[in-house]
Amino acid sequence: MTAYVIRRLLQAALVLFVMSLLVFFGVYLIGDPVEIFVAADADQVERARAIAALGLDKPIWEQYTSFVQGALGGDFGRSFVFGLPAVTLILQRLPATLELAFAAVFLTVVIGLPLGLWAGLRPDGFAGRTILAGSILGFSLPTFWVGIMLILVFAVQLGWLPSNGRGPVAEFLGIKSSLFTVDGWRHLILPAINLALLNIALMIRLVRAGVREVLPLDYIRFARAKGLSWGRIVGVHVMKNIMLPVVTVLGLELGAVIAFAVVTESIFNWPGMGKLIIDSIQRLDRPVVVAYLMVTVAIVIFINLVVDVVYSLLDPRIRLKDLDH
């Protein structure tokens, strides 16, 4: 297990390195930030000073080397726009995105799992068919449209919930989060539903398919022949067998919503990382873009590692060293 984790961490370092190369030079190719940051009527001297201040006067490979040197020490450079360290900017925004991501994953589990179970256990019933049909909607409706509709109905028409921003933050056990205030929850509900919808649909179909696959198997019939209650058969024998794909999707989802909550965060004006990255790309704020992607990649790699470990806990037939191949 330790050897496995170490190997995975080395792989992660390699991925991060390649990622930094691609992003650094990629953003360099998009455009020249100088055109954006330096006032149009600045003279040559001011211009040169501004360029030197940002470190853009050196050749690109030299810029990259100094970036890597800084990055190894945890310094990803300063934002061209805000003048603050890029990492600081991202860490400021991270809690808001994490709140949103965890809320979405939570909704996916508490809504998607029971509905999927129901649809799988009673595929021919009215409820089962309705759930399945509903999941198709969840797949096919575009996120931005659903977001706008949610705002239109629940914020504008009914006026039940706020349409944008994050609620007030309270501190609990040293963690500052809007989850600890009622108004924070009210702000969170709509974006979380918006973000979770597609994943709920995915979860429903996944669980339904899993249940349908496991139910006809001999070991379920044997469990019934042992005289187990239906609740125990579904809750233990079926559930434990369909957990592998569920954990996979939850892991992927968590990574995806942390990294790509961009659309939802834009619609609901949620002050998370997604909104920061969009703004930064538009302004060619390279240190922030690079740092953001590095942080995101690190998070996704970490989640995948956790998923692999959970795999081996869930299914005794999987040993961690086999997952390498």
Binding site: D218, Y219, A225, G227
Partner: protein, 321 residues
């Protein structure tokens, strides 16, 4: 009698029409008795076993007949009452040991839950019961093996575990659905021996479902031969094997390799087992039977034929036909 099945009908509606997987099966088995239920794949013998336990999944259903277990009809019993019987009074061992244990649960989990499903014993008492049951079926170092997962066992060991689970509550009836088919011949012999000993010693009634007459011949007290959902012949094992009355039983016996000498062709029953959706109107075996005549187009009844024997044939063997 421990179990009396009367005119059991189990049907499955399909797009091609109604499949009568079990069509009027009657059988009985008493304490300590071993009944061999023999037939080819698709003859309805496994479905008969599942029907007795009420384990027929919709859209399949028991359409008629009675399953009297210790005098009480199980057909139409509420699910909860069936559940209390299953595993406790009537146990079942399945065909494929690789598939009967849940792959992601430890053996102890699967055994302890079986104990606790019927008794309010504590977990520790249940664990002790599970360990004893494993020891009884000849699994070495049962304490250690309880902590293992099914994939760490061989097929034979897994079937022993399944049998140990079936024995946990000392049931009055065990239905064994080809439990040795997937096993090595040596293991098969051991398990046959143990099951027989068990039935004799504890007075458990045993229904042994098999396609293999050779296995059943060494084990069963009585034999019932099934073909296309019906019983075509039944009687004491010795008598049926020595002088079969139904041409199908004769065919099964002839196709066993023991009779043929070296270099001799094995006798096979011509044709194939019929599809249950397209049965001929009369005797289902007639198209494959050398003795069939026009009279076989009407369904023959299961008629008594001598001491404790019955046959469903218009031209039974040993007849001067």
């Amino acid at each position: 009698m421990t179990l009396v099945v009367e005119d059991l009908q189990t049907q499955f509606p399909t797009r091609a029409g109604l499949i009568r997987a079990v069509d009027g099966v009657s059988l009985q088995v008493g304490p300590g008795e071993i009944l061999g239920l023999v037939g080819e794949s698709g003859s309805g013998k496994s479905i008969t076993g599942f029907s007795i336990l009420g384990l027929i999944d919709p859209p399949g259903r028991i359409a008629g007949g009675r399953v009297l277990f210790q005098g009480r009809d199980l057909v139409g019993l509420p699910e909860e009452e069936l559940r209390r019987l299953r595993g406790a009074r009537i146990a079942m061992v399945f065909q494929d040991p690789m598939m009967t244990l849940n792959p992601v649960l430890r053996i102890d989990t699967q055994m302890i839950e079986a104990v606790l499903a019927h008794e309010d014993a504590g977990r520790e008492a249940a664990r002790a019961r599970a360990r004893d049951a494993l020891a009884r079926v000849g699994i070495p170092s049962p304490d250690e093996r309880l902590l293992a997962y099914p994939h760490q066992f061989s097929g034979g060991m897994r079937q022993r575990v399944a049998i140990a689970i079936a024995l946990l509550h000392k049931p009055q009836l065990i239905i064994a659905d080809e439990p040795t088919t997937a096993l090595d011949v040596t293991i098969q012999g051991q398990i046959l021996f143990e099951m027989r000993k068990l039935a004799r010693e504890s007075g458990t009634a045993l229904i042994w479902i098999s396609h293999d007459l050779a296995v059943v011949s060494g084990l069963a007290d009585r034999i019932a031969v099934m073909y296309a959902g019906r019983i075509v012949e039944s009687g004491p094992a010795r008598a049926v094997l020595a002088a079969p009355l139904h041409p199908y039983t004769r065919g099964l016996l002839d196709s066993l390799p023991r009779g043929a000498g070296r270099g001799q062709r094995l006798v096979a029953i011509p044709g194939m087992a019929p599809s249950l959706g397209r049965l001929p109107p009369g005797c289902a075996f007639a198209p494959r039977c050398s003795r069939a005549t026009a009279a076989c187009e009407a369904m023959p009844a299961l008629a008594e034929a001598g001491a404790d024997r019955a046959v469903r044939c218009i031209h039974p063997l040993g007849d001067a036909a």
